[in-house]
Amino acid sequence: MRRAWIIASALLAALFGYTVWESRKYAYLDALGPGPGFFGIWLGGVGVLLALFLIAEVVRGGAFLDGDARVLPALADVPRPLAILVGIALVAASVEYVGFRLATLVFIAVLLPLLGVRNWIAIPVLAVAGSWGVFHVFYHWLKVPLPLGELGI
């Protein structure tokens, strides 16, 4: 846990440092007063100091931390969260090309078994209801524009 906090704090310090650097490209002050760079420079500066302070606090002991807590998931627990992430990424990458219905049909039909569902009747029923059914409700009834894809479905 301690090492993870130190890494996280260091990454935050780098992010804040980058913000200060990037904010320097915008005017700090202009004719009217504080410019677009003003807030970023101050925030980034304070952020760097606080992140360094947190690293020092953790290195010194950091009594608020649960030192034994596990941060990285066990290997056996990785596939399910990974399947969710890959599933969302595939929907995001394909939804504008294949349309909402097809993208979500595949998403549901593949993700449910990957998460451990073995009911082979429920899976197709839910996949159709969750894709075609949801699309119908939102697109036709609630007039929410959803992508039809290049196939128009």
């Binding site: 913000t19 969710i84 998460l115």
Partner: protein
């Protein structure tokens, strides 16, 4: 007297067939969201925003508010039956609610929670009717320095009470504020941190961020270690006995007072009043040893405080335009989507809408009571649905919600990225609430800071020479110093990481 006339008109508007229907639908969906572990009120309200796209402003906002307080009650059911809070504010209910369920008194625990929520919510709404017009009048006198001070106070409160380390909380708030820098500069309109990505010119929308942090992040955690054991308990006896009533009634009224008061302060978060109400009851009780072992006051007080807070937290939003929590910020977003700006001017410009929404809180409290007492068994049965179905269904609505707001695939990617960040933050026990509030308040905070400095010609003393601004800044500093010296109760800080 004028307020009463407006309220009566609001009551008539809120009771029309359409508005009543959407209030019922909102209460139902909200309770469902609260019941489903892994979907908190913030993500749930955000996911359901597309449902309100086609509705007029009054019906849409009534529905979202109903979803909010429905979710606040729904979280109680999981706390009592599976010892897992449906949302953060129900954490404390687990202590005695689950113990009551183990003793076969689960029905009574849910019954007293529903009755307490009704009383607390109604008292808070009554206070809203009385206080709101005066606060709105006061809000009209606020200038940029005062608004800056108020937002800073809200941010400090969220940060000070969030998580184990005040420094980590501050860092998360800064990350949220930095995210708000992306897009157009609020005073000059110049693009910043857009990296030539067209989608970033409008900034990072907080809805996909909320869905990622609270929705996808939570589902990833659930998927890593899926486990749920629903307790079989007696749900037939819902009404407390005379002796239980006697023990609960004082707790309900004290819980109402605490929830109401804390709801008025922007940024406090729902968990604070629930813990305060619980701790107060334990201190006042003649049998403090029974707390944690199924004391009915241990359910009545925090649940009442929770709902009183939920209703009262609308006061800062409606009168000053300040969201108290991520969920309220989403409701604020719904106002903005409908072309309305919450704040002091709303009362004078759109009194019909404001009073219809306020009146709908009374109506919603009645609906929740009527819906939840007879249907407790139904909600309990929903808990038996395998988590995989809930997970995939929720993900589907997250994708739909993220996309449909701006018809942008980019927002699905944003949601995915913040899902990973949210999952990591949970692993590291970093608080998410300061990040969200920082993102939401960031643009306005910066605008008010810079406008104040423009007014004073760059002189920071403008914040210290106006008494209200000075008072707000002193309070903010005291909160941060108090938290750094660990003055906030340990239980509150450790339970508010989310």
């Amino acid at each position: 007297m004028e307020g009463l006339t407006f309220l009566l008109n609001g009551m008539i508007a809120a009771s029309t067939g359409q508005n009543l229907l959407f209030a019922v639908a909102g209460c139902f969906l909200g309770t469902l969201i609260g019941v489903l572990p892994g979907v908190g009120p913030a993500a749930g309200t955000a996911i359901l925003i597309p449902l309100t796209f086609k509705l007029d402003a009054t019906a849409g906002i009534i529905m979202l508010c109903a979803i909010y307080y429905g979710a606040m009650y729904g979280g109680t059911i999981t706390s009592v039956l599976i010892n897992v809070p449906g949302e953060a504010a129900s954490v404390v209910t687990c202590l005695d609610g689950y113990e009551m369920a183990k003793q076969g008194r689960g029905g009574t625990a849910l019954g007293i929670a529903a009755i307490g929520s009704f009383i607390g919510g109604s008292i808070a709404t009554l206070a809203l009717v009385v206080v709101a017009p005066y606060l709105a009048q006061l809000g009209l006198r606020f200038g940029p320095p005062e608004f800056f001070g108020l937002m800073l106070l809200g941010l400090c409160l969220v940060t000070a009470l969030a998580g184990r380390s005040i420094v980590a909380g501050l860092l998360m708030a800064i990350v949220g504020l930095l995210l708000s820098l992306v897009g157009q500069d609020p005073t000059r309109g110049a693009p910043r941190f857009t990296f030539d990505i067209v989608a970033l010119y409008d900034g990072v929308d907080f809805i996909p961020v909320v869905m990622g942090l609270f929705g996808v992040g939570e589902l990833l955690s659930t998927a890593e270690k899926p486990y749920r054991d629903v307790l079989k308990t007696n749900l037939t006896r819902l009404f407390p006995t005379a002796a239980e009533w006697k023990r609960s009634i004082g707790a309900i009224f004290r819980g109402s007072g605490i929830g109401l008061f804390m709801g008025l302060i922007p940024g406090v978060g729902a968990i604070v009043p629930t813990f305060m109400a619980y701790i107060l009851e334990k201190k006042l009780s003649r049998h403090p040893e029974q707390f944690g072992k199924g004391a009915i006051e241990g359910v009545a007080a925090p649940e009442t405080a929770n709902n009183a807070y939920a209703n009262a937290s609308m006061i800062p939003l409606l009168t000053l335009g300040i969201p108290s929590s991520p969920t309220i910020a989403i409701i604020m977003g719904a106002f903005i989507m409908k072309g309305l700006a919450p704040g002091p001017f709303l009362f004078s410009e759109k009194p019909d809408l404001v009073w219809a929404v306020i009146a709908s809180f009374f109506v919603g409290n009645v609906i929740l009571l009527v819906m939840n007492l007879p249907f407790v068994g139904l909600w309990a049965r929903i808990l038996h649905i395998p988590w995989q179905y809930i997970c995939v269904g929720t993900l589907l609505f997250c994708i739909l919600g993220a996309y449909s707001l701006r018809q942008s695939v980019f927002d699905i990617w944003v949601m995915l990225a913040f899902g990973i960040i949210g999952f990591t933050m949970r692993k590291l026990d970093l608080p998410t609430a300061p990040l969200i509030l920082g993102l939401i308040l960031g643009k306005e905070l910066e605008k008010n800071l810079r406008t104040s400095l423009e007014m004073s010609g760059g002189d920071f003393s403008i914040f210290f020479t106006r008494w209200l601004s000075l008072a707000l800044l002193i309070m903010s500093a005291m909160i941060i110093i108090g938290s750094a010296l660990s003055l906030a109760p340990k239980e509150v800080r450790e339970s508010t990481a989310d």
